[in-house]
Each structure stands twice: as structure tokens, then as C-alpha cells.
Symmetry: C2
Subunit: 153 residues, 2 copies
Amino acid sequence: MTPLDDIDRRILRELQRTGRISNAELGDAVGLSASACHRRIARLEAQGVIRGYAALLDRTHLSRRTTVFVEITLSGQAVEILDAFEAAVARIPDVLECHLMAGTADYLLKVVVEDAEAFAALHRRHLARLPGVAQMQSSFSLRRVRDTTELPV
Amino acid sequence: MTPLDDIDRRILRELQRTGRISNAELGDAVGLSASACHRRIARLEAQGVIRGYAALLDRTHLSRRTTVFVEITLSGQAVEILDAFEAAVARIPDVLECHLMAGTADYLLKVVVEDAEAFAALHRRHLARLPGVAQMQSSFSLRRVRDTTELPV
DNA sequence: CGTGAAAACTTAGTTCT
DNA sequence: AGAACTAAGTTTTCACG
């Protein structure tokens, strides 16, 4: 598997910012012909470096203004408990991220909801019913100082 | 500003999963003509519901296997201290997210690096030099149980 | 890697309901 | 108003040099 060269990196940087850029424009940006760009992109997709493309939506327009991080400690470390917990979490669409953590808490969840009230409803209907939970601590984000999906390349 | 109807939502769902889908295919998926899809997408973009498009890259291929959450408490709440801190954080590309938090800690950072060693280097070179920091606690993610950018629509 | 041609897609104008 | 149809202009895609 070929390692990434400098032009690959510039292509990836551009595609992270503008996922629908044409090969012609991309070629201008990185100093290559359109077909050469196309070939490299096809290779990067085949290698799995590019996992796919996505539209980025505005959370405000979709009633998801509020981000909450939830630290959860389970009542035990048995595999069955972890598996049951993870399966249940995966079924909650408001949970964008769920990490098994080293250190104090067992899991860290990132949740997006409309507002504090919506979080209370989510808590009652879903979070409080998650299996194997011993302790739960929720922290609200007051402001997203920085929030990007762009990996440094 | 028109509220989203059911077809809009299906279009958004599709575009979050497959940002480069053609209007023809999208039309098939949601039961509309290609041009009708195109018009709706143009409207959603103009309204700001769709913020843009991005290629999603694989962290493993880019030496970013490790996610670390960093809780930071500042030495004070003066606006100058917060501003200086935020400006400095924004300059570290490895920090994908930075939230001003309610509750215990002041800030929560999400950092992506190659491994623990790379985090140690980042800590020495950047995090430990952030202005106004009183306390810092880093927590490593052992496994990403779920990690999506797709908002529920 | 670049050029060029064919196929596919996007985009805008028009008509119909 | 919004959807379908049509046609011109781009873009993708894939030969070959």
C-alpha cells in the first residue's frame, strides 16, 4: 500500500473542506490535471483512506442546539454487562459518540438535543433505562468554541 | 422560512450517508424526479440547513488512532483569560473539539493523535503551554463504540 | 501524467397540474 | 407553488500516447 505523498495530502485537505469539488477545480488547486486527480481519488477510496462523502447539516436548523457529555460508570466489568450496555446505547440516535474509556468513568457519551428540556426527556426515556449503569454524570456544553470533523492531514 | 417536510428529511438522511449521490439516484430513493430533488437541495443549501459537503477520512490511515478527552479548569473566569485560552486552543489542529462547559470543568477538549506517545508530545509542546490553565485531566478512549457525524433527521 | 472523446450528470428554462 | 420535461453546459470516466 503506497504511502501518501504531498499531493495526496493536499487533495485530502481540499476534499475535507469541499467534498463536492470537481476534478478540474481540484486539479487547479493542487497543480495536476483533472484526470490525474480523479485517478488519485479513486486510489485513495480503494485504499480506504477516503471512507465516503457526507453532507454537513446545521444543528440549529434541525433542533439540535445543545451538546451534552455524559460520563457513565457501570455496576461491573463483566463482558455481558458491557455488551448489553453498548447494544442499548447504539439504538439511541441522539448519541453521536460513545467511547469506552480508560480511567475514572467507564463510558463517555456525546449527545445532541434541542435544549435542556429535551435532554431531560431523553434521560427519562432512554438514558435512565440503560442496563448495568451504576452512576451517571451529565455536563452541558455552553458554547462550541471549536467543532470540526476535519482531520489534520 | 419553510419548515422541513417528510421528503426533505429523507433527502437529508440520504445526503448525510452518501454526500455525492446523483439527483437521479436520490430521486429514486425518495420518490421524486431528479430536478425536483435538485430544487429542494438548492433550497436546503440556501436556507443553511446544508452547510456543505465533506470527504470523510479514515483516522487509522492518517495516524490518528487515538482519541483523548481533556478536561481543563482555568485559573479564573475573566474574559481576557477565556479569550486568550480559546485563541490558543484554536491554533492546535489536533484539537477537533473544544467546548466551554457548565459544571465542574471549564473546558472539554477532544483530541485525536497517533498514540499515547504522540499525546505526551502534544501535551508537552502545546497543552501544557496553554495560558490560564489551573488544572488538566486527560482521559483516553479505549474503543469508539459509536462515532458518527450524522445528525438524526 | 496528460489529452481527448463518450457517457453521465448538473442546471436552468418551460409547461403542466 | 411545486413537479415533470427538455435541452444546453459541465463533469466524470476511460481509452491511449
